[in-house]
Every structure is written in C-alpha cells, then in structure tokens.
Symmetry: C2
Subunit: 249 residues, 2 copies
C-alpha cells in the first residue's frame, strides 16, 4: 500500500535516511507521481543531503554545474550580479522547490543561491537524473513540467516588473507567498518573511523605502498587519483587488 497521506506520515527515527520515499515533500517535489518502485530508484540517486547555514551559499555564479538541488527545509534566494555591480534577486525558493536549473544551459551556474535561514537540501547529480529519466517516463515528464513551470513563473515576474506599479507588485508578491505557504500546509494568512525589505525590493524592482511605504499603506488600509517580518493577511480580496487596480481606471 503505497498511498499514505502525504503530509501526515509518521517516520520512526531509525528509518530516516536521505530518501525521497520518506520525504513528506515528495508530492511537491521531483518524485511527484512516481510509483513506489520508481521512488526507490530515485532514492539511490538522491544520496547526498547537505545543511546550509543562514547566509551561506549553496552555489555561486560561475561554478561548474553538476547537480540540481531540492530544498528539504529552509528558504533560499537566488540572485544575479552584473559586471557593473548591480544585482537583482531572481527568486525566493522554499521547501520542495528545485534550485540550479539555470546551470544546465552552460554547465555553469549563472546565479548565486543563498540560504535565508538554516536549510537542508538534497543534491541530485544531473547526469544521473537524465539517465533515470530516460528509463522512467513519469520522472522525465514531471521534470520537464518543473522546468516549464519555472519559465512560466519567470514570465509572471516579467509581467509584474513590466506592467505593475509598486503596490500591485507587493500585493502580488504577498499573495504568491501566501499561496505557496498554503501548499506546504502552513497558514495562508500569517507568516514570517525570511527576506529583508531590500531583498524584496530587489526582486520587485523597487527600492527598500518604496517597499516599506507600501507595507505601511497596506496596513493603514486594513489589508494586512505588519510587524517587522511578521505578516498577517487580513483581507485577501483587498490585496487581490489592489493587484488588478488598472481594471478600474
């Protein structure tokens, strides 16, 4: 009987090893849709688990790429540095999400991945993943979906950066975080931000002061309650309305 309830399983301590088959993120992560037998083959591949301390790099732009990484727990940001010193956060990643897909293209990482809290990752050697996905159709297809999802996500960010104003961007950002926390079984309405205002700003193409002001404004208007990094969403629909602000003009 392969099907236990994904997020509720009890694991005896003795069983814990680096294995997708007993990871409660498997429905969000690479193993999605695999049979028990296929899962075990994936286990063989995902052997190295690593802890990354808050502030440390998982990898750096320019390093040779040979593995992608699944986040087991914790929180990361990725950023790109331009020659002239400008940089931009290209994404925030949480448990169950994959890091490093950008490195496949040139066999070198093209961005930095930095832990925003103490985290744990599973390294997945890429050539072995390709090998296994030549044998397991489901794995292959799911991996393609994950890559494609990343492209779609990026288009969303481009949309945000290209057409939205500051408050719309922040509303979209909060709703996106909320939705992803929900998918992981956390409250959709209350969470701690792992990143600073400056990092949010960098991601949203705004200055930190603008982010701060937008937070204050949302609070004044009763959409959220902010206390430093602690966010409570009081009015989801208010935020959603803010996001589509242009519709009314």
């Amino acid at each position: 009987m392969a099907q236990t309830h994904p997020l509720n399983q009890e694991i005896s301590l003795s069983v814990i090893k680096t294995a997708c088959s007993n990871c409660n993120l498997r429905e969000l992560c690479l193993p999605f849709g695999l049979s028990l037998e296929e899962l075990e083959r994936l286990d063989d591949l995902v052997s190295t688990r690593r802890r990354i301390k808050r502030g440390d790099h998982l990898y750096r732009a320019g390093e040779v790429f040979d593995a992608i990484y699944a986040i087991r727990s914790g929180f990361f940001k990725t950023d790109v540095l331009l020659e002239d010193g400008r940089d931009q956060v290209t994404g925030f990643q949480m448990a169950g999400e994959l890091l490093g897909l950008d490195g496949i293209s040139t066999e070198h990482h093209t961005c930095n991945a930095i832990a925003l809290e103490d985290s744990e990752i599973c390294a997945i050697p890429f050539s072995r993943l390709e090998g296994l996905s030549r044998e397991i159709h489901t794995l292959q297809h799911h991996f393609h979906k994950v890559m494609s999802r990343e492209i779609v996500r990026d288009h969303g960010v481009m949309m945000l950066l290209g057409t939205m104003r500051a408050e719309e961007r922040l509303a979209a950002f909060l709703l996106n975080l909320s939705q992803r926390f929900t998918a992981r079984g956390f409250s959709h309405a209350e969470f701690y931000l792992r990143m600073t205002r400056e990092e949010i700003g960098s991601y949203l193409g705004l200055k930190l002061e603008t982010v701060s002001r937008a937070f204050s404004r949302f609070q004044e208007e009763g959409h959220i309650a902010v206390q430093q990094k602690h966010i409570r969403i009081l009015n989801v629909n208010g935020l959603k309305a803010l996001m589509n602000h242009r519709a009314s003009c």
Copy 2:
C-alpha cells in the same frame, strides 16, 4: 561522412522535404549535436511544417498544448494577457528558436505566439519528442539545455526590467538582436526591426514614446542610424558603454 559545413550546403530541389537533416538551422535548433542516423529519427517526428502569415497566431493562451514549434523562417513575438487587459510581450523569437516550452507545465499554452512576418514553423509533437529523447541521450541533453537557456534568458530580462533605465534597456535589446542576427549569418550592424515601437516598449517595460526618444537620442549621439524600422549600429562599444552606465556613477 556526416559532417558537411552546416551553413553552406547545397540542396537539390528534389530532396526538399520537412526534415531536420536538410535544414540549415540544425546547428542552432533542436538537432544540434546529433549523428546522421539520429537526425533521421528526428526527421520522422518533425513531419508537419506550417506557414503562418504575418499577424496570425501560431497558438493562443489557453489552448491545449501538444507540440513545441521550431521556427524555420520568419519572426514571432509571444505575449501574455492579464485579466484586467494589460499585456506584455515576453519575447521575440527568430529562425532556429523554439516556441511553446511554457505549455509543458500545465498542458495548456500560457501565452500567445504571433507571427511578425510571414513565417514557417515545424511542429514537434511533444510526447513523441519525449519518447525519442528517452532513446537519444544527446537529444535529451540538448533539449534540457534549450529549456535551461530559456530560464537564463528570462533572468536576463528580469535584470533588465528590474535594474536598468530606459536607454540601458534599449541598448541591451539592440545588442541582443544584433548578436542573434550574427549567429544566423546576417549582418550584426544592419537589420530591420520586425516589431513596432509599441511592441519593443511592451517587452522592455516602457512606453512607445520613451522607446522613440531613446532611438532619437542614440542617433544624436552617433551610436546608431535609425530610419523607421531600419537600424544601423555605428558604434557597438558606445551601446555597450551605455548599458553599463551605472558603473561610472
């Protein structure tokens, strides 16, 4: 003897059929790196060739995804439409590039692909491509690289939208076009824009007036010569310097 010089081959008229093996874009496109025998297997798969007239859609957001498309000739844009009517151009694609990768994720296209000039595409049924890439390692790997490259490209656009000012964006855009034309054997210094100022603006997160002003400014400063859609780049380094403008401030 499989290796003829990629861009110089002569093809007798009788041989022309929809086939990667006699397409002179094969070194830019999906067949990259394949052996002659592998190429022939890809030929079987890429059977349908379609003409798309200027202004027509190749596919629309929401349609069921079942194939990706390689551009044989012509020029496309992709755009995303928000519920509230805002839209944004997410990319411009030219011969040898692939369209439709975003559709894998949800099995539905997430953007519109529209021909900016009369074009010709090869449809590649996706499930068959997955099948073949389970058998041909090189094809699998190259496909992964192409998807990854798309992610990297998107990060570049995010960078552009998030941190660059209007003139830097346009300079980056022109240099990127120039570089892609060069890769296809065209002049790096002289080309026709297939898109309007408004489409450029949408892609770059600017209004068409701003794009037009930046063109005029570049011309005044002797970086380029503009006449409607005809562009001549007079000073590549000038443009490059413009792009990294912040370095000096």
